[in-house]
């Protein structure tokens, strides 16, 4: 099952999104929160992200949700710390972090491959709420 990593500048945001996503996920779904700095401050830490990616992978790769621009920078930096095999199976979803995470775990719960999980997460960009 594709794993999901949530990269936010805020630890609380990442954990909160993880909690919400767990409600929609299969029991064996890996959802790893990677938010905030080690001292609890606002920001992103590429090491934390790389460790989260490794934890989230159970063989089918990982979809990464991000909040703002430097979360992308940290995640791309994290990619350099992964071995080539894993690196090839990780992708950032260009999607709203919360809605994308939820869509991603729903797709992942169907046993879908990484490309489909990413596509569904990115579909969240155009979801209407009203």
């Amino acid at each position: 099952m594709v794993g999901v990593v949530i990269v936010s500048h805020s630890q609380k945001v990442a954990e909160g999104i993880r909690e919400m996503a767990m409600q929609m996920s299969a029991p064996e779904q890996k959802i790893i929160a990677a938010g905030g700095m080690a001292d609890g401050g606002i920001g992103t830490d590429a090491f934390q992200v790389s460790e989260a990616i490794i934890s989230a992978n159970t063989g089918d790769g990982v979809a990464v949700m991000v909040d703002l621009g430097s979360a992308v920078l940290s995640t791309e930096t994290a990619f350099e710390f992964l071995d080539e095999e894993l690196r090839a199976k990780v992708q950032i979803a260009d999607a709203p972090i919360l809605e994308g995470a939820i869509s991603a775990v729903v797709e992942a719960s169907l046993g879908s491959a990484l490309a489909a999980v990413i596509a569904t997460a990115e579909g969240a960009r155009t979801l209407n709420k009203m």
Partner: protein
């Protein structure tokens, strides 16, 4: 590590830490107001980490450690950007305990390439590159005419300073400042500023 290397990095770190408010104020004008705070946090962590590297004389290894530390303690975009820059600069200096003009040129070139790749930016977008690229070009001009490390760095610093001034005249098309569009004009870029003051601290330390 050699006293020199430790002192150089400490001098650079101290200048950032000492200028945290100025850098934060610049970033408050056109960004999210955290560049100084983040960079200071990063270099405080570097300071602490350097204590554990007392016996390391391989400049590449030390710079790699600086890069890794910045990556995980700066927090904002400057972490991955400067962190990658230091990691890339570590490669040409791997195994060396002293640096010459040629090696420093290669280090600057690698650092800039890392920032461009990571940030998907180039000059003219109101970023640190607007200080660093002119600095590198000036450094290389000096190198080609046989100037010393310090002379080349003097040229580099002057070019970086002019680059910072240049950033005041353009609109940001990268980072948080890019959200402000036209309103970012007239303001000096925080990243270009921190790059310039780091180069200046390096030069001033070597000149002592």
């Amino acid at each position: 590590m050699s006293g020199d290397l430790y002192e150089v990095i400490s001098a650079v770190g101290e200048t950032i830490i000492g200028n945290r408010q100025m850098l934060t104020d610049l970033d408050a004008a056109i960004g999210d107001g955290d560049h100084g705070i983040n960079m200071a946090r990063g270099f405080e962590a570097v300071k602490a980490k350097l204590q554990t590297l007392e016996t390391e004389s391989d400049i590449g290894k030390v710079l790699k450690t600086v890069g890794m530390t910045l990556i995980s303690s700066v927090g904002g975009a400057a972490g991955p950007l400067y962190g990658t820059a230091f990691l890339r600069a570590a490669a040409p200096s791997q195994g060396k305990t002293e640096l010459d003009v040629e090696t420093i040129g290669l280090m600057l070139e690698a650092a800039i390439a890392g920032i461009k790749e990571r940030g998907k930016a180039t000059t003219g977008e109101k970023t640190m590159l607007d200080a660093l690229v002119p600095a590198y070009e000036a450094f290389q001009d000096g190198a080609k005419t046989g100037k010393s490390v310090i002379e080349c760095l003097e040229l580099a610093c002057e070019a970086a300073k002019q680059g910072v001034e240049f950033t005041k005249t353009i609109i940001a098309t990268k980072g948080r400042a890019s959200y402000l569009g036209e309103r970012s004009r007239g303001h000096q870029d925080p990243g270009a500023t921190s790059s310039y003051i780091m180069l200046k601290a390096l030069l001033e330390h070597l000149r002592r």
